[in-house]
């Protein structure tokens, strides 16, 4: 299929982009790599009248260490993240997870901010940000908002953004007390996971964010607590029952729950040291 006609805008600054977004309102969509939006437009599932391409916004680029966090511009592409020495050193879980995100061609175009803004429940990045306790820096007409990843993902393709653009992500720099685990189950490399989990252990506490299992990247507080209490694995996995698992063609909710448990066990087994 071919997309219906649309206007294409290429703002040179974040302010200009926000002004365009305000002007066109619901008719406009920001373009941040296009790895999901372009197919949706060609399928005529999305039909924005105006596309605002964020490709030229220097404010949305760059990776820098700011104290105990690392700041990553929203328009950073996966390929850039994978090649960045600071990211590798300070966010070890990205080294585990990023190779699972789609394929080279998509990682060359797809951006971290684009993935977050889309909030696909099967995508890796939302779960990674929740596990890492990251903060989303959003810029809107009323200024900057810092939104905890835990408060950002509101449902399937639904976020806390309100006429704003994601400017950057702030991720805590890994400490010596932390260990990281990641596992996802896909039949083919690069597919959306049937179930996956990102685990960050800080001393004896855990943040475990599941993806591909429900309507959004999902943490289960009881399960994290059970891990902290070093409950036996069967008891830990029982808490997966708190998740409202998705049914689809590839796996029903029973299978998904089972696979989420396997992913968690394998992530814990493969934690960084």
């Amino acid at each position: 299929m071919k997309a219906p006609d649309f206007d294409y805008l290429l703002p040179a600054s974040l302010d200009a982009a926000l002004a365009m977004l305000a002007e066109h309102g619901g008719e406009a969509m920001p373009l941040a790599g296009g790895q999901s939006l372009m197919p949706m437009m060609n399928f005529r599932v999305a039909a924005p009248e105006v596309l605002i391409d964020l490709a030229n916004l220097s404010e949305l680029r760059g990776i820098s260490i700011e104290g105990d966090t690392i700041r990553i511009g929203a328009m950073t592409r996966y390929a850039e993240l994978m090649a960045d020495a600071d990211v590798q050193k300070h966010i070890p879980i990205f080294g585990l997870a990023l190779p699972h995100i789609a394929h080279d061609a998509i990682r060359n175009r797809g951006t971290i901010g684009g993935s977050i803004a889309l909030a696909d429940p099967a995508a890796e990045m939302p779960a990674l940000l929740r596990a890492l306790n990251a903060i989303v820096e959003a810029e809107g007409p009323d200024g900057t908002r810092m939104i905890n990843a835990d408060d950002f993902f509101l449902g399937m393709f639904e976020t806390a953004l309100d006429g704003e653009l994601i400017k950057a992500l702030h991720i805590p720099v890994a400490t010596s007390e932390q260990r990281f685990g990641f596992h996802e189950l896909t039949q083919r490399h690069g597919d959306y996971a049937l179930a996956g989990v990102a685990v960050v252990q800080t001393s004896n506490t855990y943040r475990a964010a599941f993806f591909g299992v429900a309507d959004r990247a999902t943490r289960v507080p009881d399960l994290e607590q059970a891990l902290e209490q070093q409950d036996d694995m069967a008891s830990v996995l029982e808490h997966l029952g708190n998740i409202d698992f998705t049914d689809d063609l590839k796996a029903n909710h029973t299978t998904r729950q089972r696979l989420a448990g396997v992913a968690l066990k394998r992530a814990l087994k493969g934690m960084t040291v």
């Binding site: 071919k2 219906p4 039949q187 083919r188 490399h189 063609l249 590839k250 796996a251």
Partner: protein, 792 residues
Amino acid sequence: MTGPAHIFDKPNRYIGKPEPRADAARLLQGRGSYVDDQKLPRMVHAAFVRSPHAHAKILSIDTEDARAAKGVIAVYSGEDLAAHVTPYVGTLTHLAGLRSMPQHPLAMEVARWQGEPVVMVVATSRALAEDACELVYVDFDELPAAVDSETALDLEAPVIHPELGNNLAWERDMVAGDIDAAFATPGVHVVEREFRFGRHTGVTLESRGTVCDYDPSENQLTVYYSGQAPHMMQVIFSKHLDLPEENIRVISNDVGGSFGIKIHTYGDEIATAAAAKLLKRPVKFIADRFESFVTDIHARDHIVKAKMGVTEAGTIVGIDFDDLTGIGPFSMYPRTSAIECNQVLNLTGAPYVMENYRAKGRVVFQNKTLMCQYRAVGHPIAMAIADGLLEDAARKIGMDPVALREINLMADDSYPRSSATGMKLDDLSHKRALRKLTELMDYDALRDERTEARKNGIYRGIGFVSMVEVTNPSPMFYGIGGAPIASQDGATVRLDAGGALHVSSSITEQGQGTNAILAQIAAGVFGVDLNRVKVTTGDTATTPYGGGTWASRGAGIGGEAMLQAAQALKDQVLEVAGVMLQTGVETLDIQGGAVTDLNGTIRLPLADLARTVYYRGNELPNDLNPELVATRHYRVTDFPFVFTNGAMAAHVEVDIETGFVKVLHFWAVEDCGRVINPLLVDEQIRGGVVQGIGGALYEECHYSPDGQFLNATMADYMVPMASEMPDITIAHIETPTKTSVLGAKGAGEAGTGGAPAAILNAVNDALSPMGASIWQMPMTPERILTALDQAD
């Protein structure tokens, strides 16, 4: 008769050599010319409004807004085109009792599958045509749909064609011996399983498409066609668009894969031709991926209840099965949708000596996309039934599956003979192939490794298949039943003035290297260097008349025609050379582009000979009429089909926590007779195996209970990808067919036909320690977990 050995054995001969294909560089550099690359003056674009329902009455169609939309040239309903296109029915007389109903390019009154074209919009761009499609208002009255093949014959099932009374399209019973008595014999173990084979489809890299260009000044229709059978399409366009056959030219330039998808009559393509005729200008239609999923023919869709009886000593006493297959709402035109079921009935158990056989096939209509012939028609079903039951029986009587095959495979020296179903078999090598396979894979070591791994909770399995493949079909396949499908093919070889050969053939290139083997045969048999051969295929105006490339017939039939033509031209050229050199023809040969002595000494370069003939005929005797072009045609006469055989094995690991299957290695030993180019044959086998793995593990067209196709995207429909594919080791046995001098049988479908059974057997071997087994394809993680849960 076996061909004279010298054709193949001389130095500098190309038949059997791993020559790189000449067109690879062109295709890799993006210089290919596919249908969508055709851009003609005044060309306009078609898009279709398709039925959103599996079954619905069309109450009214309002096209007013669409006609007024930007860029729109024309809007056609089914009724509009019915005045210009005669309907077609997918039945053939040799499939006795097969029923279908007339089909129109666009649905008339009732739409019978989700995706059926209903309204055609022609506009100045595809995007504008799609815009206008959104402005077409069709008032549908949704009808109950017959979706599930298992209930399609129930009395209360919605009847898709009321004129036919029920949804049965065709049925056939086949009986040999006395299966009940055989199974009741004391000491006979009977295994019984219900197999389910999901629907899948071809997913060609280049989707279906056509550019149709009509010139009213000559009443001439030129069709750019991404497909496999140009001459067949010429007849179809002629017959249904009321144009003389000779006024239709079908051109297939590069074709990006077909797998049997592009050999049928699709309403959107016929409508495109009709629109071109009505508008008197070129019209392009390129199916997008969504359209491909809901309109390209689907394959398989079988439910089979099957039994095999085996004695304690391991002799197969017989097979008994019932195959139910769903084909969508019509039998596809012109090849019909009964061939797949017919092949299952004909081929099941064909490698094995077997006295008793009973099979029932039923083909039913349903409100889904049409099902028809796709790569390895019926083969994966037939092989999975026989070899799945065979390995099940082996487990039951505690015998190694290879040993059980050794007992039952037809002996290599027992041909010619017939199978239990009456198939005429010759020149097969099942036992040699199986032995070569077990050596190639080091079966004994692999078995030990499997046993060792199980101790560590790693569940690996080894599975085999011994298989046959139907290739080189004779007129008994289609022509006998009235289909306008040639079973013979032609080749023309022309010596040009510069000493190069220009050859043409009626078989077609769709990415598999047809042109490369044609050049190898011509160069090798005639005696020029390979780079001095130019090949033309895929054009009804410039090639000899023939069937095209399908049913693994290109190399065997088209290749033999090329061999015969090259040999004929060689004889003609030597006759001229004999006169020019004042010597007997028997003392001359052609090698490396020159007429030579028998010992290879150059006597006369071909360019000199040709230039003399073409430019300076005055130097030749007046009674010599040099003919530097030769054409020959060839068809298979002694057999309905030329069977090939193969033995394959899969090594898999099943993750019993997740149900994931990893194929660790695959081996194939294939006997396709004379191998013309081992590189190409190996890639055919390899690609076929990958498609077979797709059917076994990944690919499935999912439908909702009301007939909605649920996974019509490349994200949701899983094709096999390179990362997951195992190394595939290939070896050959060459038992040339006696039906031709070339001796080549087909190789294109073996992998697809055999791999699913081998994977099924390997998975079941891996699951056997848990007492679990699975009989449904694709074997998805969820289905494997369910099988494990249900283990005894």
